[in-house]
Symmetry: C2
Subunit: 367 residues, 2 copies
């Protein structure tokens, strides 16, 4: 048994049954040509006539269109793609290592934006499943000429996935990750603004003892937020004790986080407010607080980042800095299709502004 490297595990058909062509033979241009008494090329021109405007007489045109619609003609996308060398399809690659729920919530919002943006530009979406399943996705499969470009959502910064795509010479755009490679377009959130919005809110309420809990320092976004927080605190001369700084938690490991977060509430002078680098951690913080009898927001204010769907469903509802994930996906699709079609986009609004959503998890500190 011999397989090409990029081919996924193929089902074993040990029977003498060849994979009997399952698709019905569909109507082709030549059939329409035959039935309408013209020739293939005329039909082709009529049914997508991009440039040659008046190549066909109106009568034949009408006849062809009629036949095409009664026969329910749909162009064969494989043939067209093969010929045109582009497919009006964009690939999407998620970095769903382990497919954690938080990632799902986040990614689906981005995906909806991408779908919307792609649709308005007339593109379809292809999800490469091997890449989806494997944490360390390889770019190779994307060179199969089925997509005109790829959106990389939160690509793994530790891997060489982005350079691999670049060397593929396939147009790409990055979401939620600053461009590491010059010339590679990206869409990201303005992290210094994220921190500023959250912190201005907390200090306006009167908080000074503020702790930070962050989801790992491996990701660009997380680093920027962690650093931004510390810079902000220092510039205001606010206390920055090391045990207030839990910057390297793993959002997936809620058990170990529980003890870490619980410890945060047990120190001599506990914080009156906590800034979490994402909503998932913020929600974990609220649950830990409740289990320890610390009431939110009376005794502890909690602010998250993201505004995932679940943020509005907790009790109390979470105050958070909203990332417009849909818009970010949308923007990414737009940039990508612009690039594909050779349109020069000024790469203008690729740094997206966050907004503060005040709900119920923050209040003035009790003293």
């Amino acid at each position: 048994m011999n397989r090409i490297p990029t081919e996924p595990t193929e089902p074993n058909l040990n029977e003498e049954s060849p994979p009997e062509t399952p698709m019905r033979r569909r109507v082709t241009l030549s059939e329409i040509a035959k039935q309408s008494g013209t020739h293939v090329m005329a039909v082709s021109v009529v049914l997508n006539g991009a440039k040659s405007n008046t190549r066909v007489s109106d009568t034949t045109r009408k006849r062809i269109q009629e036949v095409a619609s009664t026969l329910n003609y749909v162009p064969n996308a494989n043939a067209r793609g093969l010929r045109r060398q582009h497919t009006n399809t964009i690939g999407v690659l998620f970095n769903w290592a382990g497919s954690s729920t938080i990632h799902s919530l986040y990614s689906v919002a981005v995906l909806e934006g991408i779908v919307d943006g792609a649709a308005t530009a007339g593109y379809h979406i292809l999800l490469y499943t091997e890449a989806w399943k494997n944490a360390r996705a390889s770019a190779a499969g994307f060179a199969d000429s089925r997509t005109d470009g790829v959106v990389l959502v939160a690509p793994d910064e530790a891997s060489d996935i982005v350079p691999a795509f670049v060397s593929l010479e396939l147009p790409i755009v990055l979401v939620s990750s600053a461009s590491v490679i010059p010339g590679v377009p990206y869409v990201t959130i303005d992290n210094s603004n994220v921190i500023a919005l959250a912190m201005e809110h907390l200090t306006a309420l009167g908080h000074t003892r503020i702790a930070y809990i962050g989801g790992g320092t491996g990701r660009h976004n997380m680093r920027e937020r962690f650093e931004g927080f510390q810079r902000w605190m220092r510039s205001r001369n606010l206390p920055l004790p090391p045990h207030y700084l839990l910057g390297d938690l793993d959002p997936g490991e809620s058990d170990v986080n529980t003890t870490a977060l619980s410890g945060l509430l047990g120190v001599a002078e506990p914080p009156t407010a906590v800034l979490a680098s994402n909503d998932d951690l913020a929600i974990q913080m609220m649950q830990v607080a409740r289990s320890r009898g610390v009431s939110v927001p009376e005794q502890l204010s909690v602010v998250g980042v993201d505004d995932i769907l679940a943020a509005a469903l907790t009790t109390p509802k979470l105050t958070t800095v909203r990332q417009p994930l849909f818009e970010m996906g949308n923007q990414a699709a737009r940039i990508l299709t612009d690039t594909i079609e050779g349109r020069e986009n000024a790469n203008a609004a690729n740094v997206i502004a966050p907004t503060l959503v005040v709900r119920e998890s923050t209040a003035a500190p009790c003293r």
Copy 2:
């Protein structure tokens, strides 16, 4: 300007710039043939050699494989699809009318299952964006020969989308919707079991005054649950007053629901428990109860159906009947790929069993 019917809005390239082929010309079989001193056909046989086992000598085989890997050869999927008449790709169609958040949460879980199932069978996923965006999706675009079959997730029962697919003679499988057309495979939840699990739990706690709130009677699932509830209550001789039966709410219309649900708590003998046909309504019910000062679960028990991500994040956490959405998507992908490849699947476990997840929103009624 003339466009074929199924083509989405194409970007206007009013400039004299033809859509300059954006894809780099990739290595082809003939290049490998040239560099390895053999012929195209030999290369083809080596790089996917399904049947012709010993057609090529080991030495040439090795040489070809070396050249292919140094050149980073990736087969052109368009050419292959055109030739083979199948693409190892399945389409997915969601019924995201209006893209409500509840649908997102639900659909993404199913999508993850589909992706997983497709991946293990060696298939990719194509999302048709027009269909995704338009509430009334049309099946026509799916006849473009890019997919070997389609998963329809919760198809709109009022439309003729399913018959349209059937007449396309494209293999399909339905998720979350009983087959209307004989011979069309489907995956669905066992609704009578859903009701039984919820009701046995509530009656075991001692509840007798139980109300039902349901998300519309347009969908098969919702009808089955509503009817199942009434049957259950009657068979136990439990009270079934009409004002306990709010079977036709629209989960998207949380405003009008609020008054309806609020009214439910204001009747002379209010229910001590509420069964909601999905978690979204259950969460709305809890929010209404809280705003009226009715405490859950002390004064009112609430049970949902689905176990969406948000169910574990509410306060109190929602007791619910879990639909294994991932497994359902997975099963659907499996059935579809089996069908595509002509494998007879006994259509065995296509009715999925629900499980009860007891959390905090249910308790014995106070009397």
